[in-house]
């Protein structure tokens, strides 16, 4: 087996500085999703499942074209379908590809208590290292986009890797390559921002979408996945895209002012208890994970 590797710039729950930080220059990769040219064909869903050899699951018809209600540990890429009527009664069928946003400031990584279970490569990809994952599920709390999903068989959490295996070899992610209309685009963050803004301007000037704009939320430091939306003021219409996502305050607290705690591996248990309280106070963990797993074949 070849040793394909990517350099890391952020590591979860790591004591001290990230080794080798700042010794190499690399550009940030970015996925641009133009929802205004998405046709909801699900090529990206299949390409993701095919490339990553994800096991098949069962689905049931639920009065929608959407494949399943939410992403799963073995289904990382999901188009969300929404029938939306504008104020003048015009029907829009909004389709948004949902997957890991690869935040510059990843809430999952911030929340993770296991050294090296979540890393951010120098190209911006946020990746889970399942070998180091302890299955605590804190990343799920930390993610403002509800992306990481727990597999109760392996007791690990999974999500989109932005096909880091492909990207490290100089290829584009599988979803990007498949996209028939080119509503998905891949490149440097700078280039994708430029393309996105150009398209949004065209939508405003020529296609009668005065509120068209680019979704690159600053609350998480910007994202490695950005959207062009017909109406950037109402991202919720696109299957619950949060308007102003932030890392949850609880996670911020213990990774910010309380970060020194993280350097003391000895008090890990204490932190665990604390975060466990924060994470699972409002709802039962078992209930959430078990309902997600219904009908799946792990």
């Amino acid at each position: 087996m070849s040793q394909e590797t990517l350099r890391i710039q952020k590591i979860s729950a790591h004591a001290g500085a990230v080794p080798g930080e700042g010794t190499q220059r690399e550009f940030q990769v970015c996925k641009l999703i133009d929802t205004t040219t998405c046709i909801g064909c699900k090529a990206c869903e299949v390409a993701c499942m095919e490339w990553n050899d994800l096991p098949f699951g069962q689905t049931v018809f639920d009065n929608t074209y959407q494949t399943m209600p939410d992403t799963r540990w073995n289904y990382w890429n999901l188009i969300r379908f929404n029938e939306h009527e504008t104020e003048d009664g015009t029907l829009m069928w909004l389709m948004r590809k949902d997957q890991c946003m690869h935040c510059a400031d990843p809430g999952c990584l911030a929340a993770c208590p296991s050294d090296g279970a979540i890393v951010q490569y120098t190209n911006g990809i946020v990746d889970f290292q399942q070998a180091n994952c302890i299955g605590c599920g804190y990343c799920i709390t930390g993610c403002p986009f509800n992306i990481p999903k727990f597999n109760s068989e392996t007791k690990r959490v999974y999500k989109c890797t932005l096909c880091a295996d492909r990207v490290s070899e100089g290829l584009e992610p599988a979803c990007i390559k498949s996209c028939p209309t080119g509503c998905l685009h891949f490149g440097s963050k700078d280039d994708m921002k430029y393309l996105a803004e150009t398209r949004a301007k065209q939508l405003r000037d020529h296609y009668n979408f005065p509120k068209a704009g680019v979704y690159d939320p600053p609350g998480v430091g910007g994202t490695g996945v950005i959207y062009v939306l017909h109406d950037v003021t109402e991202p919720e219409n696109y299957g619950g895209l949060p308007k102003d996502p932030h890392i949850p305050l609880t996670v911020k607290l213990w990774k910010g002012p309380l970060k020194w705690l993280g350097n003391l591996a000895m008090v890990g248990g204490l932190i665990g208890l604390f975060v466990h309280y924060l994470r699972f106070g409002p709802k039962s963990r078992d209930e959430e994970f078990e309902t997600k797993r219904e009908g799946e074949q792990p």
Binding site: E4, G16, P19, W51, A164, P180
Partner: protein, 193 residues
């Protein structure tokens, strides 16, 4: 999904030690990734068999075409050079790997005899001999040489051929050639419907 394929390389432990001693570290941290599954696979350029966009595909099979390997398809993706699809594929094209490597494929000739309630196996030779004999008998019994007006028609109305949507041009040519030679006029194809 096999988590072991995504092992985190423990360079960080080494780096961590260095950092503890010197306060800084030049040995960068890496994470091991899943191996690129098509890295040494063989590539075959093909065309998607579904709609008439005719997307170029690359079929990746294991092995380097050495004699002792039975090729298995590990991945199919779009051909980036193809002017029409430029590497893209739709959800059907993206699932072609499962179309080829599918455990529902038919693997042996079968026959269902009159009145039978199930299939039984038959050898290729027996199947083809029986089919040829039936076609000939049907033709000999029902071939029409002249119509009511006495015009030569030389046609066979009792045998039908229905051809599929994914038949190549060359296969279609052979079929039309052979069927016309037999006089078949009920000659149709998915193209009609």
């Amino acid at each position: 999904m096999n988590p072991s394929r995504r092992d985190f390389l423990k360079y960080t432990a080494v780096g961590g030690t260095a950092a503890a001693v010197f306060g800084f570290d030049l040995q960068p941290a890496y994470a091991q990734l899943r191996t690129l599954k098509i890295a040494r696979a063989s590539e075959t350029r093909s065309t998607c068999p579904y709609c008439a966009v005719g997307c170029g595909t690359i079929i990746y099979t294991i092995g380097d075409r050495a004699k002792n390997v039975t090729a298995q398809v590990v991945h199919v993706e779009g051909d980036p050079d193809h002017p029409t699809n430029r590497g893209t594929l739709c959800p059907k094209g993206s699932s072609l790997q499962q179309e080829i490597m599918n455990d529902r494929r038919l693997l042996k000739p079968q026959v269902r005899r009159p009145g039978a309630t199930d299939w039984q196996d038959i050898s290729w030779d027996d199947a083809l001999n029986e089919i040829a004999a039936r076609v000939k008998k049907t033709r000999d019994d029902t071939f029409i040489e002249k119509d009511a007006a006495g015009h030569t028609v030389n046609r066979l109305e009792s045998l039908a051929w229905i051809g599929g949507c994914t038949d190549t041009n060359e296969f279609n040519y052979l079929v039309v050639k052979a069927m016309h030679a037999l006089g078949v006029v009920h000659l149709e194809n998915q193209a009609r419907v």
